[in-house]
């Protein structure tokens, strides 16, 4: 098995993304309407693919794009992209003008939903693909008419992590967020569409997703959620802020992506990632394409290639993300699979993504009141 060599890679994957977002978005805009080679029949000689920046981009280039280029002869122009709030408006603007700044993107689910609301995405025929059967059904996205628009690209889990030099036994349950034993010790994620803490509160103290259906129920969940604020020493948007505090023990524990924590471990940091008793929080990305791209055939080829079990496994070994294929199709050894996916996707808390998109303003208002008044 190939030994992961993540020590050369920036320890801050999504944090890097934030800082490269301006450059990435600028590049997207600059490239609007001038995406590379196109033969006229949808079979492009090149594709522009964008993903999260930092290690994500570096590893995808090495483990996905380059092998794809070798096999198909289609060259990939790789780009780093900004966050959902930045990229969706730019894609929308390009699509409205008939352009396609990129051919394929990997976008978190809320971004896919926002794009669907604005009719941005290309639809696909499942029959055009050979490897979709391996992808977990939960990681496929269809529009209201049942057309396929998004295919699972990567998945990631939000775990509880701790500094092993500060505490031998870190928290293992989400209930620790409400436990005054940990007062002023934990790092928590903001905004809500990143850390999905309302879903955690609903899963632990209410009836899960069913408790997030009405505004009244959501208010109840937020009221319970307000009890976590005394435990928060830090609210972070950029992982880099927590990573450094976690490493030096300043903030001894908190919520963090499992894949990033594993990279920190590889770099020798005294940190431990714990798959949470009640289920870690599952986030995931989808391959989507602007409907104005004219490289449909090559896009299908690319996504199909990325959906092969061997390719998914290869990316997971290096990126530590969870493969989007069903577990039985993965050839990762048990130890590696346990390391990246813990008890598996079925045990994870799947956020109520629709709520964060359809009730965006309401949720953010409650959230801001919660954390600012904390």
């Amino acid at each position: 098995m190939k030994v992961p060599d993540n020590t050369k890679i920036s320890q801050n994957r999504r944090g890097f993304l934030k800082y490269t977002s301006v450059a990435g978005a600028g590049a997207l805009t600059a490239l609007s309407g001038c995406v590379g080679g196109f033969s006229g029949d949808g079979t492009a000689s090149s594709l522009t693919v964008s993903s999260f920046g930092g290690a994500f981009k570096e590893i995808l280039e090495a483990e996905l794009y380059e092998p794809f280029e070798e096999e198909t002869g289609i060259s990939i122009e790789s780009q780093a992209q900004g966050g959902t709030a930045e990229i969706i408006p730019r894609i929308r603007s390009a699509v409205e003008n008939g352009n396609a700044p990129v051919d394929v993107l990997t976008v978190p689910v809320p971004g896919v939903l926002r794009g669907l609301n604005s009719d941005l995405w290309m639809t696909h025929e499942e029959s055009e693909f050979e490897n979709l059967e391996f992808i977990s059904d939960d990681l496929m996205k269809y529009d209201d008419d049942g057309n396929l628009v998004g295919i699972g690209s990567q998945a990631w889990l939000i775990n509880l992590v701790h500094n092993t030099e500060e505490t031998d036994n870190g928290p293992t349950s989400w209930t620790s967020l409400w436990d005054s034993t940990y007062e002023d010790q934990m790092a928590m994620m903001t905004p809500p569409v990143t850390g999905y803490m309302p879903d955690i509160a609903a899963a632990i103290h209410f009836d899960g997703a069913d408790s997030l259906q009405s505004e009244s129920d959501i208010r109840d969940v937020f009221e319970k959620l307000s009890e976590v604020t005394p435990q928060a020493q830090m609210w972070y948007t950029n992982e880099a802020n927590f990573q450094s505090s976690l490493e030096n023990g300043e903030t001894p524990m908190g919520m963090l992506y499992n894949d990033i924590t594993l990279v920190l471990q590889d770099q020798g940091a005294p940190v431990e990632s714990t798959f949470v008793d009640e289920g870690s929080v599952l986030g995931s990305g989808r391959w989507v394409s602007p409907r104005t791209s004219e490289n449909g055939t090559a896009i299908t080829q690319f996504i199909d290639y990325a959906s092969r079990p061997a390719v998914q496994d290869r990316v997971s070994r290096n990126l530590y993300t969870v493969p989007t294929i069903e577990e039985q199709h993965s050839e990762l050894d048990a130890e590696t699979y346990q390391r990246v996916a813990g008890p598996g996707l079925d045990s994870a808390i799947v956020p109520n993504f629709d709520m964060y998109v359809e009730r965006q303003e309401f949720i953010n208002q409650l959230w801001n009141e919660l954390i600012i008044d904390s």
């Binding site: 966050g83 709030a85 930045e86 969706i88 408006p89 929308r92 939903l113 926002r114 609301n117 604005s118 903001t190 905004p191 569409v193 928060a232 830090m234 609210w235 948007t237 802020n241 505090s245 030096n248 300043e250 998109v357 359809e358 009730r359 965006q360 303003e361 309401f362 953010n364 208002q365 801001n368 009141e369 954390i371 600012i372 008044d373 904390s374």
Partner: protein, 305 residues
């Protein structure tokens, strides 16, 4: 050259050639393009409606302004922004005045240049770098908490990051050069013979300062304070690096509306409100103080003074 100019006739009707209109109107074009149009767009967007999970709807509505008035959160952030801007201004003034006074009155040009370079050089670094530098210095293993513990001020090094005082310290550091440079010019313009005359008449240093230097530098104090206050009201990066959500200024909330919540109309509304508050404060200060500030004077006397 003057002869050449004279030989270039105006048009028959006595008007300038079109190209000269372009040259003459350049400042107006730049002002309109770079300031008026974006401001107008901001104002117009503030009346659009945000669609949750979608984009915005081009309908004219005042609901964003109503939301600002109805939700205490935003008024609370505005008040917090005013408060921390006031504290920053006060801190900058208290630290900046003695420094500017010493620089303006020293006979050593070497000292003056050295300190000036030191003060100005901090402006060469971006807010982000300066913010993270303070984050390192104010952590429990940073210089200042360790120093405080060594001096017995605290039992053990206590991290100030993220927190209110970390934000105040960093803001004073970042905006101090603006205060010093403004005050330096003001103090430098005070005729030193007036101070000497006061001393010759028996006034001590404190009396001379209170009755001569301070009144004559009033304009500088108000200009510097307004400059620092206005800049502090718009601070965005430092609260994000050194503060927790309770230390978020209205500027951070505005940024989040656009970059996180994709709510451009409400972000525009908050921006307009913030701008109006700042402009109103400047106007009131200028009116009450009767001083020439930023080239805007309240009275004719102010302009002459």
């Amino acid at each position: 050259m003057a002869h050449e100019a004279q030989t270039e006739p105006a048009t028959d009707s006595g008007r300038l050639p079109p190209i000269k209109y372009l040259v003459v109107s350049y400042p107006a074009i730049a002002l309109v393009t770079l300031f008026a149009v974006p401001l107008l767009l901001l104002f117009v967007f503030s009346f659009f409606r945000n669609i949750s999970g979608g984009y915005l709807r081009y309908v004219v509505t005042a609901e964003n302004y109503v939301r600002f008035l109805q939700e205490p959160l935003y008024l609370d952030r505005l008040v917090f922004s005013l408060r921390i801007a006031a504290v920053t201004t006060l801190g900058s003034l208290v630290l900046g005045y003695p420094l500017a006074y010493r620089l303006a009155t020293t006979d050593s040009s070497l000292l003056r240049r050295a300190v000036m370079v030191l003060v100005v050089s901090s402006l060469w670094l971006t807010f982000i770098i300066r913010g993270y530098a303070w984050a390192v210095l104010l952590r429990s293993n940073g210089l200042f908490p360790i120093l405080a513990a060594e001096l017995g001020l605290t039992d053990a090094p206590v991290s100030l990051v993220p927190g209110y005082w970390a934000l105040v310290v960093s803001m004073v550091y970042v905006f101090l050069p603006f205060m010093v440079l403004t005050l330096y010019t003001s103090i430098k313009n005070v005729d030193h013979e007036l101070r000497e005359a006061a001393r010759n008449l028996g006034a001590g240093p404190i009396t001379t300062f209170r009755h001569v230097t301070l009144p004559l530098t009033k304009d500088g104090i108000i200009s510097g304070s307004l400059l620092v206050f206005v800049l502090s009201m718009g601070v965005y990066v430092l609260p994000r690096i050194l503060g927790n959500p309770p230390q978020w200024t209205l500027a951070v909330v505005i940024g989040n509306q656009v970059t996180v919540e994709s709510n451009v109309p409400f972000g525009a509304t908050l921006s307009i409100i913030l701008m109006l508050v700042v402009v109103a404060l400047i106007a009131v200060t200028v009116r009450l103080a009767g001083v020439d500030t930023f080239g805007v004077s309240a009275t004719e006397e102010g302009e002459q003074g």
